[in-house]
Symmetry: C2
Subunit: 388 residues, 2 copies
């Protein structure tokens, strides 16, 4: 995972393994991607909206979809959301890239959780940003550490000429840990960020993977937080349609950029299809089905894993369990041993911004049926005990 | 056009005017956007490829589409094209943004033609690049001017620490001039660029708008030129699917970036639909229909415009005619007078990187039927003569 990926001469990223129980893929299960529902929605939207499905889309995304996202968030408990505060993106990664392109410059500083999503680290590196990992305790990143580090940077690089500061985090059902920040920790981090002029970039892509999710950091303070949402986890990653919510001036700054005005950004066609799925209610059904399937799988994996051998925080949603390998073993050694026993897990090292601890592996429960997860857990337990 | 665009509370950018003959929109005609054909292709690709249409796409785009684009270029006369040298983008603007994000840094220099596409100028500005307009003669940008300026910059900023240099150009059926660079001028510019380590970014989005287009600058020297292609002009801009061709190391550098690996970039769903349209031959039929309609419209507008009153280069393709307003009148005055007479044209000033000459307006023939274009031309002729 640390080496650059090999070029892919296929249509998709996923490739089925060779009989192993593969817990490395952080994808929705291909078996449940709703091809029929998407086909029907596409036919309907093309029949009803014709050329408006295929023309240059509005820079901030189709107004229909911005409204539908606002309504979706409202129903999810985020309070009233104004569609002007929603901008459609090419998925959360596309949104992160867009935000960094417009708001960050090389050498700007991005604080990150430790561990965090390894491909976000790659995106930050592509923008030549300086990544600073915050200290963590059992609740997540430590506000005092953000306070200290942001204050020190603010002194060495005073505004407005100094380096801008961002805090990229995944507070809800995180990748890779599966954990969510407690409500008070969210407030403390947002308050600290605001005090130092740090923009929080909240990666919120797992929100719909469970029936109930904590209130977003964006809803705590929309002036400080840009929240990145996605339809990749609960609908279909191939649509490449997501959204961000932010304060009005940020939305308008992004909306007015050249690449969106020139028609770039999300696929308008895909966005119109997603709008149809939201408006018709089909998305609600699909997402609820995905969440209930994920709950079953999460329960299967979590229930079968031996917490004494592989200590882990119990996730309430998302795709992942973050396992601590037995003392005296490296994550690399554990990953290799598990592979020999027929189970693939992701070595945790690429998820660290600084020097990795080498103490963790990530297991995904999104792709496999409960019985396979139970078998996989048993093999992981045995693998752990074999080092005992 | 110079003021920031107002937020759009609609699904699409285009809005029909109020009875004027509107020659400002550089869009394909909505009346011919192929909704039925896209609906059929989507149904087929979802039925045949199922989850592979909706999963995370390969970072460089679906291999099926990379192959189909290579074949399309080969049939267009570009010689054998290796699909490894093709990367799928979110349209040409998305490709430009991606290339600049990965290969350019603030203060790097981008040479541009004078005039050039105004939204490309906005994208360059969003990346904090220094834009330098090259001198032009009747054939286009002057190679000796590129030579002089690149040499001066190379001396003041020697490699490898110095600023990188790019040359953004639209050599084929340009926006806004409609002109194409002659073959020898292409060779001279590419040779000059290569000598100074300047990367040429060839915006090639109008290639399919005419049955025959000059060989691309990329085909002259793929080591020096990154060519941006698109399906927006001949198929449907809302798909947001385009491609770039470049040398293998550049393709692999882009393919390995975080945002593409994380599933960002083009919509995989839309790309799979476009792949189907290319493989089935439907795209060839659609593009040929569009090109023949555009030829008819181009002929109507060009034939009815009075070259004595509004001197213009006769375009061989694309969407645009670039009119010189009468001496003693500014483009702003002419645009206002034409508007009073019921015809909308685009003031040429936003198309200039430096101080605009204020001597030109752009008229698009892509959106209107021949009889409306003929009427529009008559009104423009009269407007010009009224200043005589």
């Amino acid at each position: 995972m640390t080496a650059p990926p090999a070029p892919i001469e296929r249509d998709v990223q996923f490739v089925a393994g060779d009989g192993e129980i593969d817990l490395t893929w952080g994808h929705p299960d291909p078996a449940f991607l709703p091809a029929d529902v998407v086909a029907e929605a596409t036919a309907t939207v093309l029949a009803e909206h014709g050329w408006e499905t295929l023309s240059y889309g509005a820079p901030a995304g189709p107004w229909t979809l911005r409204n539908a996202v606002a309504e979706h968030l409202r129903r999810g408990g985020e309070g009233p959301v104004d569609p002007h505060d929603v901008l459609i993106t090419a998925g959360a990664s596309g949104g992160l890239d867009l935000v960094l392109s417009l708001l960050a410059r090389p050498r700007d500083v991005v604080f990150v959780e430790q561990p965090t999503y390894f491909l976000a680290l790659r995106i930050l590196a592509d923008h030549d940003l300086e990544v600073v990992a915050l200290a963590s305790d059992e609740h997540g990143s430590v506000p005092d550490d953000l306070d200290r580090r942001a204050a020190a940077l603010g002194r060495s690089d005073p505004a407005p000429t100094g380096r801008r500061m961002f805090f990229y985090c995944i507070p809800t059902f995180a990748n890779p840990t599966g954990r969510s920040l407690p409500a008070q920790r969210r407030v403390d981090l947002v308050t600290t960020a605001r005090r130092h002029g740090v923009t929080v970039i909240e990666d919120d892509v797992y929100r719909d993977t469970a029936p109930a999710a904590p209130a977003s950091m964006w809803s705590i303070d929309p002036r400080t937080v840009i929240r990145l949402g996605s339809f990749s986890k609960s609908l279909a990653p191939g649509m490449r349609v997501g959204f961000l919510t932010a304060e009005r001036t940020t939305i308008e700054r992004i909306e007015r950029c050249g690449v969106l005005d020139s028609g770039g950004g999300a696929s308008h066609f895909a966005a119109m299809v997603v709008a149809r799925l939201l408006v018709s209610g089909a998305f609600t059904t699909i997402a609820a089905g995905a969440a209930s399937r994920l709950a079953e799988r999460r329960t299967a994996l979590v229930g079968a894993l031996d917490d004494a051998a592989l200590a882990f925080p119990v996730p309430d949603g998302g795709f992942f369990v973050w396992l601590r390998v037995p003392a005296g073993v490296t994550s690399g050694q554990f990953t290799a041993a598990a592979r020999r026993n027929g189970v693939l897990v992701a070595d945790g090292r690429p998820f660290f911004a600084g020097t990795p601890t080498g103490e963790h592996v990530r297991a995904s429960f999104s792709m496999l049926a409960p019985d396979q997860l139970t078998r996989g857990a048993a093999i992981l337990n045995e693998t752990a005990r074999s080092f005992g």
